[in-house]
Symmetry: D3
Subunit: 229 residues, 6 copies
């Protein structure tokens, strides 16, 4: 059955924007190494960084009709998250849809399929994380659904979940966990800043993290010369 | 049999240059969604855009001898299009061949294999679309053919066909269809410009394209809350 | 058995630095087309170029403990070269480890696995060649070895071997061969400079390399028109 | 947090066994083309067919400790479904674990990673659907969870969901939907049997499905000769 | 434009059947190492072997409507050859379509996409060479064309070309060349039979093919001990 | 430089044959989880099992000349191990070479490239582990080397090393370690036989291996109901 949920709960813009200082790797660690989308999802240009509330789309292969339906459901601060019902690299998304999303204040797109017009998207700074770049066109024949739970690049995404994306990839944070993960991200970043300073000063992780004893217990041997193989 | 066709028909430079304003996605759509090379063909640097007449090369795996033969067949405004007779990622092409092609006014290279010296090629702005970047060298032992029909990255390319490449990929337009596709690209671009303005102003594709009625007929349902799964 | 070799021989910094003018493709050719790592190893940003002495790490899948051990074994001018014992794309390496390596004068990282924090690594210009970009975290549970021979991306690398990496990929030069390969790289580059000038002036490779006679002997035919297929 | 749920609801054995006559393709169609795991999941030998209640395992990369924990949670008629927290092809599962599962009446294994001892597993007819065959060993260092919701090969699987696997792949049916999908599978199979007989007798799908009129409306043209290209 | 060519020329059944003794590798060699489809095309069960006249289908991604149209165009001795207009692994083809094709005497299917019901297809011995096995269903919304030239798995196939498939893969022979390739296949097979007998008797290829002199001229060295590396 | 080493040391036939009862997974574990070739190396038919002394071949891409040279270096009980100098799926090896090797008592072939004539090879029971099945032919133009150390599918193989292959893949055992690994394989197999009997009788690995305490210490929690997510 095809359905559009028009009024899903969202992570608040304040919460989403509070994640601005924290990268995908930090947030992923802060929530216990969960929520990372597959590494084949790549940004179309370097340097983009977004954090917003997911509008999800389940979409047929090579058919982008539902993207037009989804645009209407988007608000400022949202991130569109799209997964096809079977694997597909077709170019579902290009400049015109980006103009429409940008006009509504949408932050960017995450799509487990192809996108096109990357030169134009780069120029207008509308960031996309996709599985492929492909100019191949789509049809508009078959329905899908908007704002239903989807699996995108190996992760379950509910509408209204927090989605953060940067050069390292994309992480999804369940809406209810966003506040907690924010605090843990802050704590992690604070701690990393201290560690960073010590490492830059030449201290070793072996000492900072107190690893030497455990390594010795596990049996790590140090030798001056290479043993005969 | 190995053969070099020395005088194939070409798409005219005027026609090719008239495609300058139109991207690969636009042209691909304008000719009925045909002619797109596979999405694994990627530019070695962002921002390049070319449109020219194909000089085709069928070449053995890991043997670039015929590229030297092909150079002599190239004229200003040509695009070299190369496909190996079996899959191969070896670095067939580098700075020296690029110097030679650039000296003849060749616009760029499309190769379903590897290229190397990408830093130098980027600096001299000689664009290449390839399946791989690889420094692996080739031999010069076995013949191939120049200016015969080839299948490159899934598309049939005849010598003299129009080849257009940009950040989205590569599209081939049969020589005889170039004029017609040019007119359709112009028409498409004109229409898209109007649509772009309306979308930027906040109108919805649902309304501009008149989709609401057809969506309803197909049975799309709108609901405020997420149904129990 | 897990072991750390603390004092392996190294290629000298003078020798390594003397390779600065020569690209990976040139060095690979100069040593008889050997030593090239697989083409799936890609730089995280364009334009980096390094040449240094390998500190090797054999590391369990999804476990980066030994990277902390390896840092202590690194000196200025070294390149860290890491291979997992079974295929893995996890993000073993990020900004903090890079700070630590940079503080010791390490030139860069080659890892047949994932790295993360690529925005930060790009900003601090710490170059990494990796198989994947992934924010996925690792554990610290299982030992590996440092400065033992490893196979990385299809090539055997001994500690102290010369590793050169640029936009084309990575080549390893056995330590004992470095001087010889340097001389051959110089000779090759000198010869290429002459060829480059002639090609830029419009001479053909067919003539410079004297290929026409051998092509004719092999049976290459030139024709004006395309034969019936 | 690592947790083992010891008493999840299960689809009943009667319901599961009632699916025996229906293939994965039929069930997938019957539930609206949902629930199919990715096509890279392949059986280790042809001809196996199972339908049972999922015991799910979320497991670290290259670490099979939790499989031993999971065995204890399995009952007769269950199917073990395993997904690593990051992509991994390591050989998590072999003959010994299969003996243990078989002793408990477990029907088979679905694992988005590697399995080994395939000759022995084939001989004992313990079916496995996996992403890879690999003899690479795993460690036992890090916890995971048993009977929590997981994403396996692109599909969300809850403990107790119905899992059906055959030569075509694997489909998951939500526990609550199993009865409904069973009825629809029966209906579909009944209808297909009639269609099969008509097709075997030489009737055309074009006529049986009444497609000719719609094809004509869409503009399909029939011609005797091939048009000039 | 979508079109069905109803009366293309065909390679004769006599000619096609005369290829029965010759494998794909032999025929591919006999026609100068051309015409081989990509190696990712694999048979769904071992031991099948077919040779017949191609009925070609160009088909949209994830939409198998045109297969029903194509069935009507098939005659006894034909091979259905299908390529999607953009890459797709969906399960276009299963038991029902196979029943329909078998009823018309079609020999098998070559499809650069997915097929399903492989257990049933294996039982009824209807051979399929496909890019994937997938139970994922398709829609019936968009037209394609039948008996137009297509590129399938990297090879140009015209309707009526001879298609031969076995455990090694698939080779296409242009219709006009079939007689000539048949004679060359016979000659090649005759020669191979003689060589086979000599090799089985222990003679060396080095001597049978007279390779020793050429190897020595190229500089091949024989040594008793392994040189220092 | 191209060289053929005519008299490399070999692992003895007695030692090799003593490995017959032990599978690749067992041997791989017995030597500390090292030596396994990449999982993309697959047998052309199920059920084959070999253990013999490696004759290694380093070979150019798409050129099988050196295989003919290598045949002469093979003795009864050897396994031919072949790696191309750059990645290649071409069909280097088929029935004729297999006849020649079989006539000399060679046990099988391991090749990180393509093989062909798989129906004939299956019928004559000459086992091959390869990266691809491809009928694509090769040339005979460029030299390589026989019985030099090579990297094949990610593992270093010296001539005379022990190579064991079965349905799980391929493992290489350094010649000098073969006796030690044999003893460890025997011990491992003996222990596994005991464990197997206990598992078949319904004992749990958790108890046999004494895992419960360590799992509890790591913090594994057992719960009856699924926690709210």
């Amino acid at each position: 059955m095809s359905v559009v949920i028009t009024d899903p709960p969202r992570v608040s813009r304040e919460t989403a924007e509070a994640f601005t200082p924290y990268g995908v790797a930090t947030v992923h660690e802060a929530q216990g190494r969960t929520g990372l989308l597959a590494a084949y999802m790549r940004p179309i240009y370097p340097g983009a960084k977004i954090a917003g509330s997911a509008v999800t789309v389940s979409i047929p292969p090579a058919d982008n009709w539902m993207l037009h339906v989804a645009v209407e459901q988007c608000q400022a601060g949202d991130v569109l998250v799209v997964a096809p019902t079977s694997p597909c690299d077709t170019g579902y998304f290009g400049e015109l849809l980006a103009c429409s999303l940008a006009a509504r204040g949408v932050l960017g797109l995450v799509i487990e399929a192809g996108c096109r017009d990357v030169a134009a998207l780069t120029e207008m700074r509308f960031p996309v994380w996709s599985k492929a770049v492909s100019a191949q066109g789509t049809v508009k024949e078959t329905l899908g659904s908007v704002n239903v739970p989807i699996v995108c690049a190996g992760q379950l995404v509910h509408p209204g979940d927090l989605v953060i994306a940067d050069d390292d990839g994309i992480v999804v944070v369940p809406r209810a966990a966003a506040g907690d993960v924010l605090r843990k991200s802050e704590a992690r970043e604070r701690k990393e800043a201290q560690t960073r300073a010590r490492l830059q000063a030449g201290e070793l992780g072996l000492d900072i993290y107190g690893m030497r004893k455990k390594l010795a217990e596990k049996g790590l041997a140090y030798r001056r010369t290479i043993a005969e193989s």
